[in-house]
Symmetry: C2
Subunit: 302 residues, 2 copies
């Protein structure tokens, strides 16, 4: 392919800046601090964090571009030949103040090796504390519209991938209402590397459009102590997914990644209650009953 | 060995009852609810949980005795020949209300297979939110005294094992001030199986003596919002250890164990702050500076 790794990481850096600006504008109060860090073995990153905003309780937007000899654990896990690597990406998790605003996660990434191996990966998934059907439809339609502009197979394939990836086997529930997830995308007869890169960038630029929509639409909706208590419990599940099952988190912690950047995904506050079960007919029960794989969110209605 | 698995599980059940009684008495307000459960493949357990006590915020004391064909994941992980298994144990994690009272964990367990393989395991470890040197000395002396009555090699061996086991590589810190940890204890020239069983039971009976001592001594010590905030952050680290590194938790969640009983170790509430660092000279910094392996707590002084 004719793409250059520096072009890719520079474009990713711009996406990070753009997202921080858009989120900050929509929040109206908080500001993203900048925390630059270096990786002893090569490269580094810029982690940006907004806390105690008006809409965002704790949000992280991280950029990194790292390189060097590929760590043995990565070679083994990904079954790769020994070579140097370069990896760059943008990772986001936003925990909102209001239980009426969903938690969101976005990631775009690029990986290449000195032997010519390369791929793109990424995804967006949404975790509402309370399922709002119109939000689910809006979210999945936005993803499908973007995917369809590149490849009609993308949305169905990546939607299923997200259902399978963002899943807590020990709870037998999905993390939220899914979204899209894709990994190891590389040029094919249908898609050039340049096309895939365009797609990945557009995922990045779509993210703030989707999330500021929810920020603006839902932040002023009323809620009380009971909804806040439920939000904290759902954040507990978010912690469980990220620490027990999320391949990126586990792998980062296991390969001496930068802990604070990896764990910026943790919520500001989470609670656990023994054997907590929402009551029949409640909005909480309605939400949990829809934490399932395979729901056709595009056509969802109740 | 002449021990019988039913004797062992009955004795463990008695230890569970004894511990709940002692903790309830020392708490003075909360009561342990009983939650019996069955394992579809054979056996079951009784999980007991106390929440919103006077001293205990959330504490679980779980007993289980399960059996059946050994799951393939266990055979593979422990490198065992195919056979039926029986496993029984008592597991405890207590999160106190006051940041002046330490978090504690205790476990005793017995595993046997139909082909004659068997072993005992267990441990106690202490996680103070604020390190109190006299508490650390008291705790480790109590463990050493018990160990020494059985075998002079136990305390040094099991203390080191706890340092290595209760460790967060991604934070480069120990979970707390350690304690003892042991696994796969089986008869040797020095110790019969009966002796090991006696030792394990005595660990169980020592637990409430140790913890009610801290409950009674520390619960009335003063603290404010700042200490509570620190407690929540340390509970976040407890969550990180249990979900990312604890072999028992990971394994339980991975082998379709009973989720609510496994995750009764989660704190009632935990917080995360990006890149939080205690200030120089603070009690918080003093604590974190001592979350290290290899400290001689028996002779510790400042």
């Amino acid at each position: 392919m004719t793409l250059d790794k520096n072009t890719i990481s520079e474009d990713f850096k711009q996406i990070q800046s753009h997202i921080c600006e858009e989120l900050q504008k929509a929040d109206g109060k908080g500001t993203f601090i900048r925390d630059a860090w270096e990786r002893p073995e090569g490269g580094g990153g810029m982690t940006r964090v907004l806390t105690e905003g008006q809409v965002i309780a704790k949000g992280g937007v991280a950029f990194s571009a790292v390189h060097g000899p590929t760590p043995d654990k990565i070679l083994k896990k990904l079954q790769l030949e020994k070579a140097d690597f370069f990896a760059t990406g943008v990772s986001i998790v936003i925990h909102p103040v209001s239980p009426r605003v969903p938690i969101i996660h976005m990631n775009i990434r690029y990986f290449e090796m000195s032997n010519g191996v390369y791929w793109f990966g990424g995804g967006i998934d949404l975790t509402p504390h309370y399922l709002a059907p119109e939000d689910a439809v809006f979210f999945h339609k936005a993803l499908k519209t973007l995917c369809d502009r590149f490849d009609p197979t993308y949305y169905p394939t990546f939607k299923k991938w997200a259902d399978d990836y963002f899943y807590l086997p020990h709870r037998q529930e999905t993390r939220g209402i899914g979204g899209i997830f894709f990994d190891r995308l590389t040029e094919t007869n249908e898609q050039s590397a340049e096309n895939i890169f365009e797609f990945v960038k557009e995922v990045g630029y779509l993210f703030p459009k989707i999330y500021t929509h929810f920020m603006e639409k839902n932040a002023a909706l009323p809620y009380g102590d009971s909804e806040r208590a439920w939000q904290s419990l759902r954040r507990g599940r978010y912690v469980e997914f990220n620490l027990v099952w999320d391949a990126g988190t586990k792998f980062g912690l296991d390969t001496n990644g930068r802990t604070e950047s990896i764990l910026m995904s943790m919520p500001p506050l989470a609670t656990w209650q023994y054997n907590q079960k929402p009551s029949e007919g409640s909005a909480e029960k309605f939400t949990v009953d829809h934490l399932k794989k395979g729901i056709d969110w595009i056509n969802f209605s109740i």
